[in-house]
Symmetry: C2
Subunit: 146 residues, 2 copies
């Protein structure tokens, strides 16, 4: 089981906006071409990024723009924006009907929950440690060396 590709698509989108945004209109069609992902999916992801205050889009005129400086956007922000993991449910799917009549069944949740939360937090902290500025910088560097 994997985290939905909307996350990597979102990072790809933001990178494209910064790399190409000054010289052209970055439309959902263009992004669809660069990512290989359907334009409607792109618009959905853009809508989620917009809700999170990461990008701006407008009907009619077309073209997405960044709403924040790249060094103020972390991978965690993007991850949360596209909601690959439901915040209520958490990263781990717990089996839903442990038997309350069994001593283990009625207590396993209590024992596990804190630890599963810690595991999820470890992952999220690592995501918080990377900014999109780094991602875009690396990308531009590689492009310039090609």
């Amino acid at each position: 089981m994997q985290i939905a590709s909307k996350f990597t698509v979102a990072v790809h989108i933001i990178t494209c906006i910064d790399v190409f945004g000054e010289q052209m209109r970055v439309t959902s069609d263009f992004l669809s071409g660069s990512t290989g992902v359907n334009a409607v999916i792109i618009r959905n992801v853009l809508a989620q990024l917009r809700s999170a205050g990461i990008v701006n889009t407008r009907q009619g005129s077309g073209g997405a723009h960044l709403a924040k400086a790249l060094n103020e956007i972390t991978l965690y922000d993007v991850y949360m924006a596209v909601e690959c993991v439901d915040n209520d449910e958490g990263l781990f799917h717990f089996h839903e009907n442990p038997n309350a009549k069994c001593p283990v069944g009625r207590n396993i949740h209590k024992v596990m929950d804190g630890r599963l939360t810690a595991v999820q937090a470890a992952m999220e902290n690592e995501l918080k440690s990377v900014t999109l500025a780094e991602i875009v910088e690396d990308t531009k560097k590689i492009i310039s060396e090609e």
Copy 2:
């Protein structure tokens, strides 16, 4: 998107084997009752735990037993045993067809891969830091205080 519940089921199973194993046969039917999960699923998980050298099972006689000391089993071992995440694919599902004709499309993988691996490693290290001995100890403590 979530990590399959087979993982929490597996932890539940191991806990039951230790808690109840001395006084009764811990069969797939019993585990099905305690977890609320279908007995065939339980047998599948047991088969994966057996392949990983964590438990022993036998046809006919019935009843699962631990093949290792609890302090030698970490949550990571269980997680890997049940293969909730494909080892080849990784935790993050990358969009599969970025456009090689686009400078961003043909380099985004290079830029992201190392960082995604680091995020996954952070999660896995946290899983490695918890042993089943702790889980079972906590569970027994709670049961004794009920």
